[in-house]
Symmetry: C2
Subunit: 298 residues, 2 copies
């Protein structure tokens, strides 16, 4: 068996924003249409080493490849790979040793796509809650889709807020450490288990939350869902462990109050309405970016 | 990332019967003791290419490695690999490109271990039902554990029966194409969806069935379970899609009538009693053989 192992440098060379955005957009729309296969993930836990390993798989109908992704975290150190498999023969085609970047990029791309699709076209300011990798990437990738002028940052650690503002400023944005003031567009990117401060969401016309990637998390105050147009990347997953599910369990919205993110991307939506997008991450997007990258490299 | 890809030649060099039997025995006992982690497998289906891909993972507590196994079948062609992962860091350690052999060997080892443990010590004749790879391997591996003199073969295709008898004869066995006559020890190795002929089981003191690896299969007549000591490699799995589950649903035995195969291997059993072992294959055994092989190669 020959199984090329493709490193991050080579991946980054072909994984342009165009390639990733287009692959993720197609995957989200296919997912909304029921044209994807995404089995329930497997989780192995290693409590003695403060570790866990998540195995996810996904396939977009008609793609030449499917993907199986291994992502482990041991004592806060991430590890993993994506195995690309030929979807016509079942033969393993390549290992993408992406150091977790393709997951970061597909998360950023999905967030940017739905934020752009649901936020009024003239909005050029966003508030970002959180100061991690996704806080930076969500803004960076949104700028591939629309011009931004100002970004407001909120986080629990003032030094991290200052550092992120500095990075945004270096990228030509008017960056301010006053994310709690909110904005017409708010992007929540934290690993919070309790809702973030309500005031940050008060002036929001659109909110995107990308933090609820597993049970027990929740970053949006449930009240923001009331009366809003709601989009979820996967209905069952968001009901199970997304902010949408938290709002449903709190009795704020009905459990069928959501549209599919892919349907919004495909058909558009009235951007004048207040809206909330809940993203939990879908295996079909992993598969789509892995397939697109490997296809571009062949 | 360096990720050695280890081919079948190198694997076969260290995967001696001693190494495999010992790893599988330990894994089955650990599984009976609740010292294994085996998440529910993932399945992807590709109907347009007559294909499916099963992803399994397993871990035996305390092992230095865990394993994630990919096994696909497209238009009857098998493909796959086993990924060995460091269980203390989560870092991928190696790919075993085993061409499915480690799965075949662990299945053979598990069958041989429980057949030997439950069959009276003086029995040196077996009847084998089926003529595939496992029909040959179950006998071959049982001979690592006890001397055999005679083997009787049954299968639907006379030419396959003749060929298998020839292979057994070349290995020094008195091989006969009259498996339907049965024997004190019967090993069923078919992919049957309906019970095999009842007469083959009439004189059995012990029966091992290894064919029910997925829902919809069933090779043992449910009556053979009545009054027998029953061993299952995984209670829930055998209840779900093993021959044991078929017997429970037919009302022949209670759903708690089984012992764990690992408990029988650990504690022994009265071999004078009539017995049936139902093996569906456990991910912990995959993990154990992969870890043992990689450990021996380091």
């Amino acid at each position: 068996m020959t199984l090329p192992i493709i490193g991050l440098d080579e991946i980054a060379r072909v994984a342009t924003p165009d390639v990733i955005l287009s692959a993720v957009r197609d995957a989200l729309i296919a997912h909304a249409d029921g044209r994807t296969s995404v089995p329930a993930p497997m989780v192995l836990e290693f409590p003695r080493h403060a570790g866990d390993c998540h195995v996810k798989a996904g396939y977009v109908d008609g793609s030449p490849y499917f993907a199986v992704k291994l992502a482990s975290t041991f004592a806060s150190v991430n590890n993993g790979l994506i195995l690309v498999v030929d979807a016509t023969t079942g033969a393993p085609a390549a290992v993408l040793a992406d150091e977790g970047k393709l997951t970061a990029w597909r998360t950023a791309a999905a967030g940017a796509l739905i934020t752009d699709a649901m936020t009024p076209a003239d909005v050029d300011e966003v508030a970002v809650l959180g100061t991690g990798e996704q806080a930076r990437l969500q803004v960076e990738w949104l700028r591939h889709l629309r011009p931004l002028r100002r970004v407001k940052v909120w986080g629990r650690r003032p030094d991290a807020v200052a550092e992120l503002c500095k990075a945004f400023a270096a990228d030509g944005l008017d960056a301010r450490p006053d994310g709690l003031e909110g904005s017409a567009c708010v992007i929540a990117t934290t690993a919070a288990r309790d809702p973030l401060p309500a005031e940050a969401f008060r002036s929001a016309l659109h909110i995107t939350g990308i933090g609820t990637d597993m049970p027990g998390k929740g970053e949006l105050p449930v009240e923001v869902f009331a009366g809003a147009v709601i989009a979820t990347d996967d209905h069952d997953q968001c009901l199970d462990h997304g902010d949408f599910g938290n709002a449903v369990r709190a009795g704020v919205v009905a459990d069928d109050a959501d549209l599919a993110v892919g349907a919004v991307l495909r058909d558009g939506v009235d951007r004048a309405q207040r809206s909330v997008a809940d993203l939990t991450g879908i295996g079909a997007a992993d598969a789509a970016v892995a397939a697109a990258v490997f296809f571009a490299l062949r």
